[in-house]
């Protein structure tokens, strides 16, 4: 069937089969191969792009579902002259990429995240990126890159929250943050 999709600002019209995944539409039909397929279960986020401005995993969107909509990929972030988008620049500055396979998805997820939460804490950044897996960096510098892009970074090399302050526990004495969700009512 015919789909009309705006990709990185340019309108396109293509014939696709219904089961064509958006990630393959971008890679094979549009020739935009920055987004990568890293898993089978919508877990890793290497395929993350923006669909009408919000981050989505393009491996779990059919191209036909993007009909009439606009998609932005990592290729569409940088300036016409190749100038890096502030998020891309922050990733470079903070060494937030090593092998690069997760990077385009990580960058797009970050762009989407900061649009919704422009002033995040470190914990919010980590939760905001829970849909993007990275094997190389240990996330440390990715978190720094996101905080840098948000304008909230401390000195080079440090962990963003410096040495841990005592963690707050809820009334029932449970753990908070880092993989364990706290009691009701808090956000």
């Amino acid at each position: 069937m015919r789909v009309e999709i705006t990709v990185n600002g340019s309108s396109r019209s293509d014939d696709v089969e219904p089961r064509l995944l958006l990630v393959h539409y971008l890679r094979e039909v549009c020739g935009l191969r920055a987004a990568n397929v890293g898993c089978d279960t919508t877990s890793c986020g290497a395929c993350t792009v923006l669909l009408d401005g919000v981050s989505v995993k393009s491996c779990t969107v059919l191209a036909v579902q993007a009909n009439g909509r606009s998609v932005t990929t990592a290729e569409g972030l940088s300036g016409v002259d190749g100038q890096l988008h502030p998020v891309q620049q922050a990733f470079r500055q903070e060494h937030g990429l090593q092998c690069g396979f997760c990077t385009p998805g990580m960058v797009m997820a970050t762009v989407g995240f900061l649009a919704e939460n422009p002033d995040p804490t470190e914990q919010e950044v980590r939760e905001g990126l829970e849909g993007n897996l990275c094997r190389c960096t240990g996330y440390h510098n990715i978190v720094r890159a996101v905080l840098s892009a948000a304008g909230r970074l401390s000195a080079p090399g440090e962990s963003p929250d410096a040495v841990a302050a005592p963690r707050e526990l809820s009334a029932a004495g449970e753990l908070s943050a880092a993989g364990e969700l706290s009691a009701a009512g808090e956000r």
């Binding site: 500055q93 980590r126 993007n132 190389c136 996330y139 962990s159 841990a164 753990l175």
Partner: protein, 758 residues
């Protein structure tokens, strides 16, 4: 101002951040135009005879180019086990009459449209007659069910000799425990892939993500029965490897075979399911540690017995326990140490190298043993370590198992880590929480480690080659036999060349991974690249300057001895004559200016360090959370702190992931339960904190850079530190040991079984 030791941003990055890396699946190349796509039929059972394969429906489907089984592979031989391994444990590229692990390739379908591949896989019918599956290596070691009847045993190889039954006679206290260093999946974000085409000249060109094209070429040639000069391997960008992309897997060879059989290019890119089943796994040791000594904290004897699960077909994994043995005593000065190992086959995915490859297992064992001993004698774990660490040594130190530690100060590393962690304050907080009976308890875990990096080359002592060429436009190209997959070699090596030759880093390009361009090389693994490859770059730079000096002397009609190299201008000048200068670039425009060199190291180097982990455990649910990880990782001189930190972070995260979360799980019939990222608990950003890195640099004399290898160190220290921290958090409840991964259920069970909860 020297550029060395500074935080130079990676010159690789702009591409990766904008258009993305060009991985094998991304390749657009004229030679691959119209490539057919290969899909593998894989065994759904762990151990069975194949009694029939029905290809009828598959072959009859439009768009199917071909379907192949083992019967078609008449021109290739089975893969023989490595020398030293038990004979008879052969693997055919496609399973012929027997499958031995879930995921083993059984047949291939070749299609025009990759979207059709899985449709056609469903049409291939394979009949399996199940055989009893052996999944637990302890069961395999009993040789009751043989996985290779022709081999007569499940044992692949043994390391070490007889055990001394009197080893612990003089010990007041002896503790023994069987612990598990569990099977994990390397799971790089980019899985395996291949693209292949044969030229009119009968030569194979294969694109494979790998850790050393030269090694991949040799393996491919062997698998296909080809002379090496008939094979060219090209390495696209590689999306991570962690030890599992060395050499070649059967699938790589099969894709090349298909390309020849169909007379056109062929490509393959695995799914994550295939990757979690088909890429070699890591670790998988059952370890028995026995440690004895006196109540004053002195360890007198330590024994490590290792049972290595090698998986269904013995590969590098079966050899790795010899590295575990090599590092058995770690940083300690034990009077008596014994270590034995045995590798056995099981009906599971074969085991290969995974970040640290055999050495993390040694550290994990001895660090658990130290804590077990400390708990037994009621002494602080830091204190027990202080009592037993090797004193700083001025001369290289032999560890009794064949390892010669080049340089190290293990006590200093431990003290630095403890101080940075605020150890005394942590113990105080722990005591307060225990006194109050808090639900959430605090645990502090320590690991002291030393590890071996930069071992031997393809043959002989450790070595690596480099070629440097300066071009007339003032840029330079370096060829290396190392093989980056995220580490930043281009930037690091360019820094070295830039420092010597005065050419800006941005104007230096690194090339690697094409065996026609770089015929020799040891690849990247064992943390060797900077200490050998970088040293080679530095050496080549100096040799190039020597060569250039001679030519400059001619050009300037001066004596070579009167010339000075002005790095800031990348030019030779005549002392005292300001205008008389000739740049490297201009020398290159008269005659090609390049040098090829081989750097040989005297031996492996031994980075070391200490990690302190702080964990919290919710004693009601068993949930363990890593709060802090303080790391001292001393790998000698640091060339680029940005890159070194990145390697440490990544290693620490993988190490913590093994302690807390990750495990490849099989059921009793050999069915994998963790064959997706939904089920395999791959670490995400929410499971680890930011890390606290402490600097320490004890140079080595084994290369002029003073560097050792940093790539694996983080994963070696972090795993036992984190595991020890979780156990420490509930030690006051009587818990002495919790196997990795310290999942909530496992922790809670340990707490409940001790029955000490209020």
């Amino acid at each position: 101002m020297s550029i060395l030791g500074t935080r130079v941003l990676r010159t690789e990055d702009p591409k990766f951040l904008t258009t993305g890396g060009e991985y094998t699946e991304d390749l657009v190349d004229d030679r691959l135009a119209g490539a057919a796509h290969v899909f593998f039929v894989r065994s759904p059972v762990a151990h069975a005879r194949i009694t029939g394969i029905d290809l009828h429906a598959a072959r009859a489907t439009p768009g199917v180019v071909a379907v192949f089984t083992a019967a078609d592979l008449t021109d290739v031989d089975p893969i023989s086990p490595l020398p030293g391994y038990t004979a008879g444990m052969t693997q055919t590229l496609l399973a012929s009459d027997t499958v031995r692990y879930v995921g083993e390739p059984v047949a291939m379908v070749v299609v025009e449209d990759p979207y059709q591949g899985e449709d056609v896989l469903e049409l291939v019918g394979v009949d399996y007659d199940p055989l009893p599956a052996v999944v637990d290596p302890r069961e395999a070691a009993r040789d009751e069910t043989l996985i290779f009847p022709a081999a007569g045993t499940n044992t692949v190889i043994n390391y070490g000799g007889e055990l001394d039954e009197h080893l612990f006679d003089d010990c007041d206290v002896v503790v023994t425990r069987t612990i598990h260093n569990q099977r994990v999946a390397p799971a790089p974000m980019e899985g395996r892939a291949a693209a292949a085409v044969w030229g009119e000249d009968g030569r194979l060109t294969a694109w494979i993500p790998n850790q050393g094209a030269q090694g991949s070429k040799a393996t491919l040639a062997k698998m296909l029965g080809l002379e090496r000069d008939r094979v060219r391997v090209i390495t696209p960008d590689v999306g991570g490897a962690f030890g599992a992309k060395f050499g070649a897997d059967p699938e790589h060879a099969l894709v090349a075979w298909v390309a020849r059989a169909i007379g056109g290019p062929a490509r393959w890119s695995e799914t994550r399911y295939e990757n979690l089943l088909g890429m070699t796994h890591g670790r998988a040791q059952v370890q028995t540690v026995t440690i004895g000594g006196s109540r004053d904290g002195r360890v007198l004897a330590y024994r490590l017995e290792v049972l290595q699960d090698a998986g269904a077909y013995p590969r590098l994994g079966a050899f790795l326990p010899s590295l575990t043995r090599l590092m058995t005593p770690g940083t300690y000065d034990f009077a008596k140490v014994e270590s034995v190992a045995r590798s056995v086959v099981t009906n599971t995915t074969p085991i290969g190298a995974y970040r640290g490859a055999g050495r993390p297992e040694a550290t994990a064992a001895v660090e658990r043993a130290m804590d077990l001993f400390a708990a037994e004698i009621g002494m602080d774990p830091a204190e027990v370590r202080r009592c037993n660490l090797l004193a700083p040594f001025a001369e290289p130190h032999r560890n009794g198992f064949g390892a010669l530690y080049d340089s190290g100060d293990f006590p200093a590393a431990l003290e630095k880590a403890l101080e940075a962690a605020g150890y005394d304050k942590l113990r105080k907080e722990q005591a307060e929480r225990r006194a109050r009976g808090d639900v959430v308890q605090l645990g502090i875990g320590i690991a002291s480690y030393v590890e071996i990096t930069g071992g031997g080359g393809e043959s002989g002592p450790p070595n690596e080659n480099a070629t440097i060429e300066v071009h007339p436009d003032g840029s330079a190209t370096i060829l290396t036999g190392a093989s980056p997959h995220g580490q930043g070699h281009q930037t690091a090596f360019a820094m070295l060349a830039s420092e010597a030759l005065g050419i800006p880093v941005e104007k230096i390009t690194l090339k690697w991974g094409d065996t026609d361009l770089v015929p020799r090389g040891g690849g990247t693994g064992g943390s060797r690249s900077l200490q050998q490859g970088g040293a080679a770059v530095r050496q080549a730079s100096q040799e190039l300057l020597d060569l250039a000096r001679e030519r400059a002397a001619d050009a300037l009609e001066a004596d070579a001895a009167d010339l000075r190299f002005d790095v800031s201008r990348s030019a030779f000048t005549v002392a005292g004559v300001a205008q008389a200068a000739v740049s490297l670039a201009s020398l290159a425009s008269t005659e090609r200016l390049f040098v090829h060199t081989v750097f040989t190291a005297p031996g492996a180097t031994f980075p070391f360090g200490a990690h302190v982990a702080v964990a919290e455990v919710d004693t009601e649910t068993g949930q363990a959370v890593l709060r802090r990880l303080v790391a001292v990782d001393d790998a000698g001189t640091v060339l680029n702190p940005l890159l070194a930190e990145g390697q440490r972070h990544g290693g620490i995260a993988q190490g913590a992931a093994q302690a807390l979360l990750e495990e490849v799980v099989y059921d009793a019939e050999g069915n994998p339960l963790t064959a997706s990222f939904a089920d395999y608990p791959f670490l995400s950003a929410t499971e680890v904190p930011s890390f606290e890195l402490v600097d320490m640099a004890t140079p080595t004399t084994y290369n002029p850079l003073g560097v050792k290898g940093i790539g694996e160190a983080g994963s070696i220290g972090a795993t036992p530190a984190v595991q020890n921290a979780v156990i420490d958090a509930v030690a006051h409840l009587g818990v002495r040991h919790i196997d990795m991964p310290t999942s909530p259920r496992t922790v809670w069970r340990a707490i409940s079984e001790e029955g000490n909860r209020g």
